[in-house]
Protein backbone atom coordinates (compact mmCIF):
# COMPACT_ATOMS: atom_id res chain seq x y z
CA UNK A 1 0.00 0.00 0.00
CA UNK A 2 1.24 3.42 -0.88
CA UNK A 3 2.27 5.45 2.10
CA UNK A 4 0.33 8.54 1.12
CA UNK A 5 -3.39 8.26 1.53
CA UNK A 6 -4.68 11.76 0.80
CA UNK A 7 -3.17 14.14 -1.70
CA UNK A 8 -4.05 17.72 -2.52
CA UNK A 9 -2.72 19.47 -5.59
CA UNK A 10 -3.37 23.15 -6.30
CA UNK A 11 -6.42 22.98 -4.13
CA UNK A 12 -8.48 26.15 -3.71
CA UNK A 13 -11.71 26.87 -1.86
CA UNK A 14 -13.95 29.94 -1.69
CA UNK A 15 -17.13 31.25 -0.15
CA UNK A 16 -18.56 33.19 -3.06
CA UNK A 17 -15.86 35.68 -3.97
CA UNK A 18 -14.01 35.17 -0.69
CA UNK A 19 -10.97 33.05 -1.53
CA UNK A 20 -10.07 31.31 1.74
CA UNK A 21 -7.93 28.36 0.75
CA UNK A 22 -5.16 29.14 -1.72
CA UNK A 23 -3.25 26.62 -3.75
CA UNK A 24 -2.67 23.93 -1.16
CA UNK A 25 -0.36 21.06 -1.98
CA UNK A 26 -0.11 18.42 0.71
CA UNK A 27 0.49 14.69 1.12
CA UNK A 28 -1.13 13.05 4.12
CA UNK A 29 0.65 9.85 5.16
CA UNK A 30 -1.29 6.73 6.04
CA UNK A 31 -1.77 5.77 9.69
CA UNK A 32 -0.23 8.93 11.01
CA UNK A 33 -1.62 11.90 12.92
CA UNK A 34 -1.38 15.16 11.01
CA UNK A 35 -2.14 18.36 12.88
CA UNK A 36 -3.30 21.44 10.99
CA UNK A 37 -2.73 24.63 12.89
CA UNK A 38 -2.90 28.36 12.31
CA UNK A 39 -4.55 31.55 13.54
CA UNK A 40 -8.31 32.09 13.28
CA UNK A 41 -9.52 32.63 9.75
CA UNK A 42 -6.49 31.02 8.13
CA UNK A 43 -8.55 28.53 6.17
CA UNK A 44 -7.62 25.38 8.08
CA UNK A 45 -11.18 24.38 8.95
CA UNK A 46 -12.37 25.16 5.44
CA UNK A 47 -9.62 22.98 4.02
CA UNK A 48 -10.53 20.15 6.37
CA UNK A 49 -14.17 20.34 5.38
CA UNK A 50 -13.17 20.11 1.72
CA UNK A 51 -11.59 16.73 2.30
CA UNK A 52 -14.92 15.08 3.07
CA UNK A 53 -16.89 17.50 0.88
CA UNK A 54 -18.79 19.16 3.70
CA UNK A 55 -17.66 22.54 2.40
CA UNK A 56 -19.95 22.37 -0.60
CA UNK A 57 -23.05 22.07 1.58
CA UNK A 58 -22.87 25.79 2.26
CA UNK A 59 -24.71 27.87 -0.34
CA UNK A 60 -22.25 29.80 -2.48
CA UNK A 61 -19.28 27.65 -1.56
CA UNK A 62 -16.95 26.38 -4.27
CA UNK A 63 -13.62 24.66 -4.69
CA UNK A 64 -11.16 23.72 -7.39
CA UNK A 65 -8.02 21.67 -7.79
CA UNK A 66 -7.23 18.05 -7.10
CA UNK A 67 -7.99 16.11 -3.95
CA UNK A 68 -7.51 12.36 -3.95
CA UNK A 69 -7.80 9.44 -1.59
CA UNK A 70 -5.81 6.35 -2.58
CA UNK A 71 -5.30 8.14 -5.89
CA UNK A 72 -9.03 8.31 -6.53
CA UNK A 73 -10.34 11.81 -7.15
CA UNK A 74 -12.60 12.73 -4.24
CA UNK A 75 -14.48 15.24 -6.33
CA UNK A 76 -15.43 12.66 -8.91
CA UNK A 77 -16.85 10.23 -6.39
CA UNK A 78 -20.32 10.63 -5.00
CA UNK A 79 -20.18 12.50 -1.67
CA UNK A 80 -21.81 9.58 0.09
CA UNK A 81 -18.90 7.30 -0.78
CA UNK A 82 -16.41 9.97 0.20
CA UNK A 83 -17.96 10.35 3.62
CA UNK A 84 -18.06 6.61 4.20
CA UNK A 85 -14.31 6.52 3.72
CA UNK A 86 -13.60 9.76 5.52
CA UNK A 87 -15.35 10.30 8.84
CA UNK A 88 -15.61 13.55 10.77
CA UNK A 89 -15.75 14.63 14.39
CA UNK A 90 -16.94 18.15 15.06
CA UNK A 91 -16.02 20.93 17.43
CA UNK A 92 -19.02 20.63 19.71
CA UNK A 93 -20.03 17.07 20.58
CA UNK A 94 -23.21 16.40 18.63
CA UNK A 95 -24.73 13.02 19.45
CA UNK A 96 -28.26 12.69 18.14
CA UNK A 97 -30.40 13.75 21.10
CA UNK A 98 -33.34 11.51 20.40
CA UNK A 99 -31.24 8.34 20.06
CA UNK A 100 -29.79 6.11 22.72
CA UNK A 101 -26.03 5.57 23.06
CA UNK A 102 -26.39 2.27 21.22
CA UNK A 103 -28.36 3.81 18.39
CA UNK A 104 -25.98 6.74 18.17
CA UNK A 105 -23.03 4.45 17.53
CA UNK A 106 -24.76 2.63 14.67
CA UNK A 107 -26.51 5.76 13.41
CA UNK A 108 -24.33 5.74 10.32
CA UNK A 109 -25.65 2.33 9.34
CA UNK A 110 -29.25 3.36 9.86
CA UNK A 111 -28.83 6.55 7.86
CA UNK A 112 -27.25 4.71 4.94
CA UNK A 113 -29.96 2.09 4.99
CA UNK A 114 -27.56 -0.73 5.84
CA UNK A 115 -29.38 -3.47 7.65
CA UNK A 116 -27.26 -5.52 10.01
CA UNK A 117 -28.48 -8.51 11.96
CA UNK A 118 -28.58 -7.93 15.71
CA UNK A 119 -25.41 -9.87 16.63
CA UNK A 120 -23.52 -7.87 14.00
CA UNK A 121 -24.89 -4.62 15.35
CA UNK A 122 -23.96 -5.52 18.90
CA UNK A 123 -20.48 -6.37 17.74
CA UNK A 124 -20.05 -3.08 15.91
CA UNK A 125 -21.27 -1.10 18.92
CA UNK A 126 -19.01 -2.89 21.37
CA UNK A 127 -16.05 -2.72 19.04
CA UNK A 128 -16.43 1.01 18.34
CA UNK A 129 -17.00 1.95 21.95
CA UNK A 130 -13.98 -0.10 22.96
CA UNK A 131 -11.88 1.68 20.39
CA UNK A 132 -12.67 4.99 22.06
CA UNK A 133 -12.24 3.64 25.58
CA UNK A 134 -15.91 4.21 26.37
CA UNK A 135 -17.19 0.63 26.49
CA UNK A 136 -16.46 0.06 30.15
CA UNK A 137 -18.17 3.28 31.15
CA UNK A 138 -21.41 2.88 29.22
CA UNK A 139 -21.89 -0.83 28.60
CA UNK A 140 -24.64 -1.02 31.19
CA UNK A 141 -26.50 2.03 29.99
CA UNK A 142 -26.50 1.59 26.24
CA UNK A 143 -30.20 2.38 26.10
CA UNK A 144 -29.88 5.71 27.80
CA UNK A 145 -29.91 8.84 25.70
CA UNK A 146 -26.53 10.19 24.68
CA UNK A 147 -27.22 13.59 26.20
CA UNK A 148 -26.74 12.21 29.70
CA UNK A 149 -23.03 11.77 29.20
CA UNK A 150 -20.42 14.34 30.12
CA UNK A 151 -18.90 16.53 27.41
CA UNK A 152 -15.80 14.38 27.08
CA UNK A 153 -17.84 11.18 26.95
CA UNK A 154 -20.16 12.70 24.35
CA UNK A 155 -17.23 13.58 22.16
CA UNK A 156 -15.86 10.06 22.46
CA UNK A 157 -19.31 8.79 21.54
CA UNK A 158 -19.13 10.91 18.40
CA UNK A 159 -15.73 9.44 17.60
CA UNK A 160 -17.18 5.97 18.14
CA UNK A 161 -20.00 6.85 15.79
CA UNK A 162 -17.51 7.84 13.11
CA UNK A 163 -15.29 4.84 13.77
CA UNK A 164 -18.22 2.43 13.50
CA UNK A 165 -18.37 3.06 9.77
CA UNK A 166 -14.83 1.70 9.38
CA UNK A 167 -13.51 4.71 7.49
CA UNK A 168 -9.91 5.00 6.40
CA UNK A 169 -9.48 8.60 7.51
CA UNK A 170 -10.81 10.50 10.50
CA UNK A 171 -11.09 14.29 10.36
CA UNK A 172 -11.24 16.24 13.60
CA UNK A 173 -12.35 19.89 13.64
CA UNK A 174 -10.99 21.38 16.88
CA UNK A 175 -12.32 18.35 18.75
CA UNK A 176 -11.34 19.38 22.26
CA UNK A 177 -11.96 23.13 22.20
CA UNK A 178 -15.31 22.65 23.93
CA UNK A 179 -14.00 20.19 26.53
CA UNK A 180 -12.46 20.53 29.96
CA UNK A 181 -8.75 19.72 30.44
CA UNK A 182 -9.27 16.19 31.75
CA UNK A 183 -11.60 15.21 28.91
CA UNK A 184 -9.17 16.85 26.52
CA UNK A 185 -6.33 14.64 27.63
CA UNK A 186 -8.51 11.52 27.47
CA UNK A 187 -9.37 12.35 23.87
CA UNK A 188 -5.75 13.12 23.06
CA UNK A 189 -4.71 9.70 24.36
CA UNK A 190 -7.20 8.22 21.93
CA UNK A 191 -5.46 9.79 18.96
CA UNK A 192 -2.39 7.77 19.68
CA UNK A 193 -4.34 4.50 19.73
CA UNK A 194 -6.57 5.30 16.81
CA UNK A 195 -3.77 5.88 14.35
CA UNK A 196 -3.01 2.18 14.34
CA UNK A 197 -6.16 1.67 12.31
CA UNK A 198 -6.95 5.05 10.82
CA UNK A 199 -5.30 8.14 9.46
CA UNK A 200 -6.07 11.20 11.55
CA UNK A 201 -6.15 14.83 10.45
CA UNK A 202 -6.74 17.20 13.33
CA UNK A 203 -7.40 20.90 13.01
CA UNK A 204 -6.49 22.69 16.19
CA UNK A 205 -5.91 26.24 17.34
CA UNK A 206 -3.99 24.89 20.31
CA UNK A 207 -0.31 24.73 19.37
CA UNK A 208 0.62 22.66 22.37
CA UNK A 209 -1.95 20.08 21.40
CA UNK A 210 -0.49 19.93 17.90
CA UNK A 211 2.95 19.42 19.38
CA UNK A 212 1.69 16.74 21.75
CA UNK A 213 -0.31 14.48 19.53
CA UNK A 214 0.84 14.71 15.94
CA UNK A 215 3.49 13.12 13.76
CA UNK A 216 3.42 15.84 11.13
CA UNK A 217 2.11 19.37 11.39
CA UNK A 218 0.85 21.76 8.74
CA UNK A 219 0.81 25.49 9.34
CA UNK A 220 -1.79 27.53 7.50
CA UNK A 221 -1.69 31.29 7.32
CA UNK A 222 -4.03 33.58 5.37
CA UNK A 223 -5.30 30.67 3.31
CA UNK A 224 -1.90 29.33 2.29
CA UNK A 225 -0.09 26.24 3.45
CA UNK A 226 3.03 27.96 4.74
CA UNK A 227 4.96 24.99 6.05
CA UNK A 228 4.41 21.26 6.49
CA UNK A 229 6.94 18.97 8.16
CA UNK A 230 7.66 16.54 10.96
CA UNK A 231 6.19 17.97 14.13
CA UNK A 232 9.53 17.96 15.88
CA UNK A 233 11.09 20.09 13.17
CA UNK A 234 8.08 22.44 12.95
CA UNK A 235 8.35 23.30 16.60
CA UNK A 236 12.09 23.40 17.07
CA UNK A 237 13.52 24.56 13.76
CA UNK A 238 10.82 25.81 11.42
CA UNK A 239 12.02 26.97 8.03
CA UNK A 240 9.58 29.80 7.41
CA UNK A 241 9.67 32.97 9.47
CA UNK A 242 5.88 33.08 9.63
CA UNK A 243 5.86 29.66 11.28
CA UNK A 244 8.55 30.86 13.66
CA UNK A 245 6.46 33.90 14.57
CA UNK A 246 3.35 31.83 15.13
CA UNK A 247 4.92 29.29 17.45
CA UNK A 248 6.64 31.95 19.46
CA UNK A 249 3.35 33.67 19.99
CA UNK A 250 3.88 36.81 17.95
CA UNK A 251 0.34 36.37 16.68
CA UNK A 252 -2.34 33.84 17.41
Amino acid sequence: MESTIIKSRNFNASFGTNHVVKNVNIDIPRNKVVAVMGPSGCGKTTYLRCINRMHELIPGASSSGEMTINNENIYQMHPIFVRLKIGMVFQRPNPFPNLSIYDNVIAGYKLNGIKLPKPERDRVVEHSLTRVALWGEVKDSLNKKGSFLSGGQQQRLCIARAVAMEPEVLLFDEPTSALDPISTSTVEELFHELKANYTLIIVTHNMQQAARVSDKTAFFYLGELVEYDETKIMFTAPKDSRTQNYITGRFS
Binding site: N52, M54, L57, P59, P79, I80, F81, R83, L84, G87, M88, F90, R92, N94, P95, F96, P97, N98, A107, G108, K110, L111, N112, C158, R161, A162, M165
Partner: protein, 277 residues
Amino acid sequence: MIIGLLMIVLVLGILLTLVVKSLPSIQALGLKYLWGKTWDPVQDIYGAAPFLLGTLISSFLALIISVPFSLAVAIFLGEYYPNGWLPDFLKNAVELIAAVPSVIYGFWALAVLVPIVRTFETNIGVAPLGQGIFASSLILAVMIIPYAASLGRSMIQLVPSQLKEAAYGLGATRWEVIRSVILPYTKSGLFAGVLLSLGRALGETMAVTMVIGNTSLMPHSIFGYGNTMASVIANEFTEADKPVYVSALIELGLVLFLVTVVINLIGKKIIDRFTND
Protein backbone atom coordinates in the same frame (compact mmCIF):
# COMPACT_ATOMS: atom_id res chain seq x y z
CA MET B 1 -52.02 47.67 37.43
CA ILE B 2 -55.70 47.49 36.70
CA ILE B 3 -55.01 46.92 33.08
CA GLY B 4 -53.52 43.52 33.79
CA LEU B 5 -56.62 42.63 35.72
CA LEU B 6 -58.73 43.80 32.84
CA MET B 7 -57.49 41.05 30.59
CA ILE B 8 -58.32 38.42 33.15
CA VAL B 9 -61.69 39.99 33.80
CA LEU B 10 -62.44 39.97 30.10
CA VAL B 11 -61.76 36.30 29.63
CA LEU B 12 -63.55 35.33 32.79
CA GLY B 13 -66.41 37.52 31.69
CA ILE B 14 -66.65 35.71 28.40
CA LEU B 15 -66.55 32.34 30.08
CA LEU B 16 -69.09 33.38 32.67
CA THR B 17 -71.49 34.79 30.12
CA LEU B 18 -71.34 31.60 28.12
CA VAL B 19 -71.89 29.44 31.16
CA VAL B 20 -74.69 31.49 32.60
CA LYS B 21 -76.52 31.70 29.32
CA SER B 22 -76.12 27.98 28.78
CA LEU B 23 -77.55 27.17 32.14
CA PRO B 24 -81.19 27.03 31.10
CA SER B 25 -80.43 24.41 28.50
CA ILE B 26 -78.05 22.53 30.77
CA GLN B 27 -80.72 22.43 33.40
CA ALA B 28 -83.49 21.47 31.04
CA LEU B 29 -81.68 18.98 28.89
CA GLY B 30 -78.84 17.70 30.97
CA LEU B 31 -75.67 16.15 29.69
CA LYS B 32 -77.38 13.84 27.23
CA TYR B 33 -77.87 16.92 25.10
CA LEU B 34 -74.37 16.41 23.88
CA TRP B 35 -75.06 13.08 22.27
CA GLY B 36 -78.67 13.66 21.32
CA LYS B 37 -79.08 12.99 17.63
CA THR B 38 -82.16 15.01 16.88
CA TRP B 39 -82.29 18.76 16.57
CA ASP B 40 -85.86 19.89 16.17
CA PRO B 41 -86.50 23.24 17.83
CA VAL B 42 -90.07 23.33 16.60
CA GLN B 43 -90.80 20.30 18.73
CA ASP B 44 -88.46 21.42 21.44
CA ILE B 45 -86.06 18.55 20.91
CA TYR B 46 -82.42 19.52 21.10
CA GLY B 47 -79.47 17.25 20.47
CA ALA B 48 -75.99 18.51 19.72
CA ALA B 49 -74.53 15.37 18.18
CA PRO B 50 -75.12 16.35 14.55
CA PHE B 51 -73.12 19.54 15.06
CA LEU B 52 -70.38 18.01 17.16
CA LEU B 53 -69.94 15.33 14.56
CA GLY B 54 -70.15 17.78 11.69
CA THR B 55 -67.50 19.97 13.28
CA LEU B 56 -65.18 17.07 13.96
CA ILE B 57 -65.55 15.50 10.54
CA SER B 58 -65.11 18.69 8.55
CA SER B 59 -62.20 19.92 10.68
CA PHE B 60 -60.29 16.67 10.65
CA LEU B 61 -60.89 16.13 6.97
CA ALA B 62 -59.63 19.66 6.32
CA LEU B 63 -56.60 18.94 8.49
CA ILE B 64 -55.77 15.71 6.68
CA ILE B 65 -55.99 17.47 3.33
CA SER B 66 -54.00 20.52 4.36
CA VAL B 67 -51.19 19.04 6.44
CA PRO B 68 -49.13 17.64 3.55
CA PHE B 69 -49.24 21.06 1.91
CA SER B 70 -48.39 22.92 5.11
CA LEU B 71 -45.53 20.52 5.75
CA ALA B 72 -44.22 20.95 2.21
CA VAL B 73 -44.20 24.72 2.58
CA ALA B 74 -42.53 24.44 5.98
CA ILE B 75 -39.80 22.14 4.68
CA PHE B 76 -39.30 24.16 1.50
CA LEU B 77 -38.90 27.43 3.37
CA GLY B 78 -37.24 26.06 6.46
CA GLU B 79 -34.73 23.67 4.96
CA TYR B 80 -34.32 23.85 1.20
CA TYR B 81 -34.60 27.54 0.41
CA PRO B 82 -34.67 29.83 3.44
CA ASN B 83 -33.51 32.81 1.38
CA GLY B 84 -34.12 34.22 -2.05
CA TRP B 85 -36.83 35.93 -4.03
CA LEU B 86 -38.78 32.78 -4.87
CA PRO B 87 -39.05 31.61 -1.24
CA ASP B 88 -40.00 35.16 -0.25
CA PHE B 89 -42.76 35.05 -2.83
CA LEU B 90 -44.01 31.73 -1.47
CA LYS B 91 -43.83 32.95 2.11
CA ASN B 92 -45.82 36.07 1.32
CA ALA B 93 -48.33 34.17 -0.77
CA VAL B 94 -48.98 31.72 2.05
CA GLU B 95 -49.37 34.56 4.52
CA LEU B 96 -51.81 36.16 2.12
CA ILE B 97 -53.93 33.02 2.27
CA ALA B 98 -54.47 33.74 5.95
CA ALA B 99 -55.30 37.37 5.26
CA VAL B 100 -58.20 36.80 2.89
CA PRO B 101 -61.49 37.26 4.77
CA SER B 102 -63.43 34.05 5.30
CA VAL B 103 -66.61 35.44 3.81
CA ILE B 104 -64.77 35.88 0.53
CA TYR B 105 -63.57 32.29 0.68
CA GLY B 106 -67.15 31.27 1.33
CA PHE B 107 -68.52 33.26 -1.57
CA TRP B 108 -65.93 31.93 -3.98
CA ALA B 109 -66.48 28.39 -2.74
CA LEU B 110 -70.20 28.79 -3.25
CA ALA B 111 -69.77 30.13 -6.77
CA VAL B 112 -66.88 28.05 -8.04
CA LEU B 113 -66.00 25.16 -5.77
CA VAL B 114 -69.50 23.83 -5.24
CA PRO B 115 -70.22 23.32 -8.96
CA ILE B 116 -66.86 21.56 -9.31
CA VAL B 117 -67.69 19.28 -6.40
CA ARG B 118 -71.09 18.67 -7.93
CA THR B 119 -69.46 17.47 -11.15
CA PHE B 120 -67.05 15.35 -9.16
CA GLU B 121 -69.91 13.79 -7.25
CA THR B 122 -71.76 13.00 -10.45
CA ASN B 123 -68.64 11.27 -11.75
CA ILE B 124 -68.24 9.08 -8.72
CA GLY B 125 -71.90 8.22 -8.59
CA VAL B 126 -72.91 10.12 -5.48
CA ALA B 127 -75.84 12.50 -5.16
CA PRO B 128 -74.63 15.71 -6.86
CA LEU B 129 -75.45 18.12 -4.12
CA GLY B 130 -72.28 20.18 -4.46
CA GLN B 131 -72.70 21.73 -1.07
CA GLY B 132 -71.91 19.61 1.91
CA ILE B 133 -69.22 18.49 4.29
CA PHE B 134 -66.76 17.63 1.54
CA ALA B 135 -66.90 21.06 -0.09
CA SER B 136 -66.60 22.82 3.25
CA SER B 137 -63.61 20.65 4.20
CA LEU B 138 -61.94 21.60 0.93
CA ILE B 139 -62.25 25.33 1.43
CA LEU B 140 -61.37 24.95 5.10
CA ALA B 141 -58.23 23.04 4.12
CA VAL B 142 -57.06 25.93 1.95
CA MET B 143 -57.76 28.44 4.72
CA ILE B 144 -55.80 26.65 7.43
CA ILE B 145 -52.64 25.89 5.43
CA PRO B 146 -50.77 28.99 6.63
CA TYR B 147 -50.97 28.17 10.33
CA ALA B 148 -49.15 24.86 10.40
CA ALA B 149 -46.88 26.06 7.58
CA SER B 150 -45.62 29.16 9.32
CA LEU B 151 -45.07 27.53 12.68
CA GLY B 152 -43.52 24.48 11.04
CA ARG B 153 -41.07 26.66 9.16
CA SER B 154 -39.91 28.39 12.36
CA MET B 155 -39.47 25.06 14.10
CA ILE B 156 -37.48 23.58 11.24
CA GLN B 157 -35.16 26.57 11.18
CA LEU B 158 -34.40 25.96 14.84
CA VAL B 159 -32.71 22.61 14.18
CA PRO B 160 -29.05 23.08 15.14
CA SER B 161 -26.84 22.86 12.08
CA GLN B 162 -24.33 20.68 13.93
CA LEU B 163 -26.87 17.87 14.12
CA LYS B 164 -27.49 18.08 10.42
CA GLU B 165 -23.74 18.14 9.79
CA ALA B 166 -23.25 15.03 11.90
CA ALA B 167 -25.71 13.22 9.67
CA TYR B 168 -24.18 14.53 6.44
CA GLY B 169 -20.76 13.55 7.75
CA LEU B 170 -21.96 9.98 8.08
CA GLY B 171 -22.99 9.90 4.43
CA ALA B 172 -26.69 10.80 4.55
CA THR B 173 -28.52 12.37 1.61
CA ARG B 174 -30.58 15.48 2.20
CA TRP B 175 -33.81 13.55 2.33
CA GLU B 176 -32.25 11.22 4.88
CA VAL B 177 -31.15 14.16 6.98
CA ILE B 178 -34.69 15.59 6.85
CA ARG B 179 -36.23 12.27 7.76
CA SER B 180 -33.76 11.19 10.45
CA VAL B 181 -32.70 14.45 12.04
CA ILE B 182 -35.00 17.36 11.23
CA LEU B 183 -38.38 15.67 11.51
CA PRO B 184 -37.69 13.84 14.79
CA TYR B 185 -36.21 16.99 16.27
CA THR B 186 -39.18 19.16 15.33
CA LYS B 187 -41.82 16.51 15.99
CA SER B 188 -43.52 18.33 18.84
CA GLY B 189 -43.21 21.74 17.19
CA LEU B 190 -44.84 20.45 14.02
CA PHE B 191 -47.57 18.90 16.12
CA ALA B 192 -48.19 22.26 17.77
CA GLY B 193 -48.53 23.78 14.30
CA VAL B 194 -51.10 21.17 13.38
CA LEU B 195 -52.99 21.93 16.60
CA LEU B 196 -53.03 25.60 15.68
CA SER B 197 -54.48 24.78 12.28
CA LEU B 198 -57.04 22.53 13.94
CA GLY B 199 -58.09 25.24 16.37
CA ARG B 200 -58.62 27.58 13.48
CA ALA B 201 -60.67 25.03 11.58
CA LEU B 202 -62.92 24.27 14.53
CA GLY B 203 -63.90 27.88 14.99
CA GLU B 204 -64.31 28.88 11.36
CA THR B 205 -67.81 30.10 10.71
CA MET B 206 -68.50 32.05 7.55
CA ALA B 207 -66.93 29.99 4.80
CA VAL B 208 -68.27 26.81 6.31
CA THR B 209 -71.79 28.06 6.78
CA MET B 210 -72.02 29.23 3.19
CA VAL B 211 -71.05 25.87 1.80
CA ILE B 212 -71.95 23.09 4.17
CA GLY B 213 -75.64 22.82 3.44
CA ASN B 214 -76.96 23.62 6.89
CA THR B 215 -78.99 20.61 7.77
CA SER B 216 -79.81 19.57 11.32
CA LEU B 217 -79.77 15.90 10.57
CA MET B 218 -76.95 13.61 11.61
CA PRO B 219 -74.28 13.63 8.92
CA HIS B 220 -74.25 10.30 7.14
CA SER B 221 -71.73 10.88 4.37
CA ILE B 222 -69.04 13.40 3.67
CA PHE B 223 -70.76 14.15 0.40
CA GLY B 224 -73.98 15.00 2.15
CA TYR B 225 -75.10 18.16 3.85
CA GLY B 226 -73.96 18.87 7.35
CA ASN B 227 -73.58 21.57 9.95
CA THR B 228 -70.95 22.63 12.43
CA MET B 229 -71.38 24.16 15.85
CA ALA B 230 -70.23 27.52 14.55
CA SER B 231 -72.43 27.47 11.46
CA VAL B 232 -75.60 26.44 13.28
CA ILE B 233 -75.10 29.28 15.75
CA ALA B 234 -74.57 31.71 12.90
CA ASN B 235 -77.69 30.52 11.11
CA GLU B 236 -80.16 30.02 13.88
CA PHE B 237 -79.21 32.43 16.62
CA THR B 238 -81.31 35.33 15.45
CA GLU B 239 -84.24 33.04 14.70
CA ALA B 240 -84.19 31.36 18.09
CA ASP B 241 -87.40 32.36 19.79
CA LYS B 242 -87.55 30.18 22.86
CA PRO B 243 -85.19 30.67 25.81
CA VAL B 244 -84.21 26.99 25.78
CA TYR B 245 -83.50 27.23 22.06
CA VAL B 246 -81.23 30.20 22.57
CA SER B 247 -79.61 28.55 25.53
CA ALA B 248 -78.97 25.34 23.62
CA LEU B 249 -77.14 27.33 20.98
CA ILE B 250 -75.11 29.13 23.61
CA GLU B 251 -74.17 25.80 25.09
CA LEU B 252 -72.71 24.90 21.71
CA GLY B 253 -70.80 28.14 21.86
CA LEU B 254 -69.50 27.18 25.28
CA VAL B 255 -68.31 23.80 24.03
CA LEU B 256 -66.66 25.50 21.05
CA PHE B 257 -64.99 27.99 23.35
CA LEU B 258 -63.62 25.34 25.69
CA VAL B 259 -62.38 23.04 22.96
CA THR B 260 -60.60 25.72 20.93
CA VAL B 261 -59.09 27.33 24.00
CA VAL B 262 -57.72 24.01 25.23
CA ILE B 263 -56.26 23.12 21.85
CA ASN B 264 -54.64 26.51 21.41
CA LEU B 265 -53.18 26.49 24.91
CA ILE B 266 -51.70 23.02 24.44
CA GLY B 267 -50.18 24.19 21.18
CA LYS B 268 -48.70 27.29 22.81
CA LYS B 269 -47.34 25.27 25.71
CA ILE B 270 -45.54 22.94 23.34
CA ILE B 271 -44.01 25.85 21.45
CA ASP B 272 -42.87 27.54 24.66
CA ARG B 273 -41.23 24.40 25.89
CA PHE B 274 -39.56 23.90 22.53
CA THR B 275 -38.14 27.39 22.23
CA ASN B 276 -36.93 27.46 25.80
CA ASP B 277 -35.08 24.16 25.68
